[in-house]
């Protein structure tokens, strides 16, 4: 049995309950879309995050501030595990081939905690040059995934 797709109201309610510091903006019930902005501090620094979601597509997560640090020449790329464009990257938090996210899941229980994971790994990557959270870049074999660099 396939689980039911959650409506934007259900997503908004789940976000409000789990992450009250994220305020929902531009809730569009006709388009079934919303935008949330909130501040988090997974480890060392505070970040302002933006999440955009439209039912039927994948959630998009951006770091609004501070600017993300790039490490040119790093083996993981100058900024790992993101979707282009380089000047406005969105975080890539799950592997679509693994079906780790579906529209029946709440953003509150998946996207937000995964973004916190990304930020924690990103900070330690900036500090050490090593992305230790595992994962897979597009084009990389699944067998190579989850390898700590």
């Amino acid at each position: 049995m396939t689980a039911a797709i959650l409506s934007i109201d259900e997503q908004v309610a789940a976000m409000r309950a789990a992450w009250p510091q994220f305020s929902a903006r531009r809730i569009d019930r006709r388009a079934q879309s919303a935008r949330w902005v909130g501040s988090v501090r997974p480890q060392y620094a505070s970040y302002s995050l933006e999440i955009r979601y439209e039912v039927g597509s994948l959630p998009e997560v951006r770091v609004l501030s501070p600017d993300l640090v790039r490490l040119p020449g790093n083996s993981e790329g100058q900024l790992p595990h993101v979707y282009p464009p380089a000047e406005d990257p969105t975080l890539c938090l799950f592997d679509p081939r693994e079906r780790e996210w579906t529209a029946a899941m709440t953003i509150a229980s998946t996207t937000v905690p995964w973004a916190l994971d990304w930020l924690a790994c990103y900070e330690l990557w900036v500090m050490t040059g090593r992305w230790t959270g595992g994962g897979r870049h597009a084009g990389q074999d699944i067998g190579e995934a989850r390898v700590t660099t």
Binding site: Q43, Q78, C121, R146
Partner: protein
């Protein structure tokens, strides 16, 4: 009913900033292998001295002083792997009536054939240099009777000939240790976790598991209190800031005195470091305001002056206060989460040294990244990521504001 609970201390590995500071402290600690050696070595030196004609039956007490006695030993200035340890040898009646230089020379002669790389007579002690870069200072002393326990005179003589500057200096290192210990009691939670990781870092995981429930109150060389951890960091900070300085630097015993004063139960490590540095700044500012040199004496022996050789000028003390202000400013910005990780690394490296900070960050990256890959992390409602320590794993049971992780795989491109 008021219930007084014994302060257990905060686990520094549960807070991100405290964790990196604690990892830095772990990197500069006397490692377990040398810790075991230090204990056996100072006992061996005593046994050796007692076999010599000059010292047979003349050693009344042989006890650690300084950082060794308060569990605050860190690597020597300018190094990451050399350690200075201090022993006081309280001598008997044969040495009373001798001049300071004579006593030091006798001690040097008795240790001349001791199996170490080098034996060096210094102004107040004789230093033994071991091949593994440990240095053991043996300071001869004579008990001042009718005073508090172990108040003593120690020798001061530059040599090689007698000089008008030769003298005995009053001190009570033993009493200071008792004072310090009374101010910095065992914080069990913090001490157990630190001890476990200290053994773990040295590849002694099995011993870490065995010893973790066994951190006794009197356990030598084991950091037992957050103030002592902050003291180690402050000493390291001083060593780095004065690494190319040739003159005297703020003395460790003075910093220890302030750590004893600043100690307060259940404070975070970063807050304790700020508190300790602030306390010193306040006293320096007060002294400089009246154009006086900072004066710090042993709290149980006022003639034992910790600042007798530093500062030599008001400018020197003001310079140290400036360094401390810079340390506090950067820690405060980090505590507020307002410093980017690259800037934080640069700042920590400038404060505590390149190698140890890199090692600390690598250790944390491996642990946190590994925890995330295994979905062992937890999240606070305010958007914090808890680390997979034993304490955090138990958290959801008692803390509904913490949620558990769901497995996922980072994807995307390299841009």
């Amino acid at each position: 009913m008021n219930i007084q609970l014994t302060p257990t201390g905060l686990n520094p590995f549960d807070d991100p900033l405290d964790r990196i500071l604690a990892e830095i402290a772990l990197s500069i600690q006397l490692p377990p292998s040398l810790h075991d050696k230090a204990k056996s070595r100072y006992e061996a030196v005593r046994r050796h001295l007692e076999t010599t004609t000059a010292f047979f039956d003349q050693i009344e007490h042989f006890y650690p002083q300084g950082s060794m006695a308060i569990d605050a030993t860190i690597s020597t200035r300018g190094t990451d792997d050399e350690y200075d340890l201090d022993i006081v040898s309280q001598l008997g009646g044969r040495f009373r009536g001798m001049a300071p230089l004579e006593i030091l020379t006798e001690l040097e002669a008795a240790l001349a054939d001791y199996p170490v790389q080098r034996v060096l007579r210094q102004t107040r002690c004789v230093t033994l240099f071991y091949a593994d870069k440990m240095h053991l200072d043996v300071t001869p002393s004579l008990r001042v009777y009718a005073t508090l326990d172990r108040e003593s005179l120690i020798t001061h003589a530059k040599g090689p000939r007698r000089s008008a500057d030769d003298r005995f200096v009053d001190m009570n290192a033993y009493g200071f240790v008792q004072w310090y210990a009374s101010r910095t009691p065992l914080e069990l939670r913090m001490a157990k976790e630190f001890h476990r990781r200290w053994l773990d870092h040295a590849g002694l995981a099995a011993r870490a598991d065995a010893d973790v429930d066994d951190v006794p109150d009197q356990c030598d060389f084991i950091v037992k209190n957050t103030a002592t951890l902050a003291l180690q960091l402050l000493k390291r900070f001083r060593n780095i800031r004065y690494s190319s300085y040739t003159g005297r630097i703020p003395p460790s015993v003075m910093l220890s005195y302030y750590a004893g004063l600043a100690a307060q139960p259940n404070m975070s490590l970063s807050a304790m470091l700020v508190r300790l540095a602030s306390w010193i700044i306040r006293d320096i500012e007060q002294a400089s305001l009246y154009r006086r040199l900072l004066h710090v004496a042993n709290p149980i022996c006022e003639t034992d002056v910790f600042t007798d050789r530093w500062p030599e000028s008001i400018a020197q003390q003001d310079e140290f206060a400036g360094h401390l202000r810079e340390l506090i400013r950067s820690l405060e910005v980090m505590r507020k989460g307002e410093m980017c990780p690259d800037t934080m690394m640069d700042t920590l490296r400038r404060s505590f040294g390149e190698r140890v900070v890199t090692r600390a960050a690598n250790q944390i990256a491996t642990e946190i990244g590994g925890g995330i890959q295994q979905s062992r992390q937890l999240y606070t409602r305010r958007g914090g990521l808890l680390l997979p320590s034993a304490t955090a794993v138990a958290a959801p049971i008692v803390n509904p504001a913490v949620s558990v992780a769901r497995p996922h795989t980072f994807f995307g491109r390299k841009i």
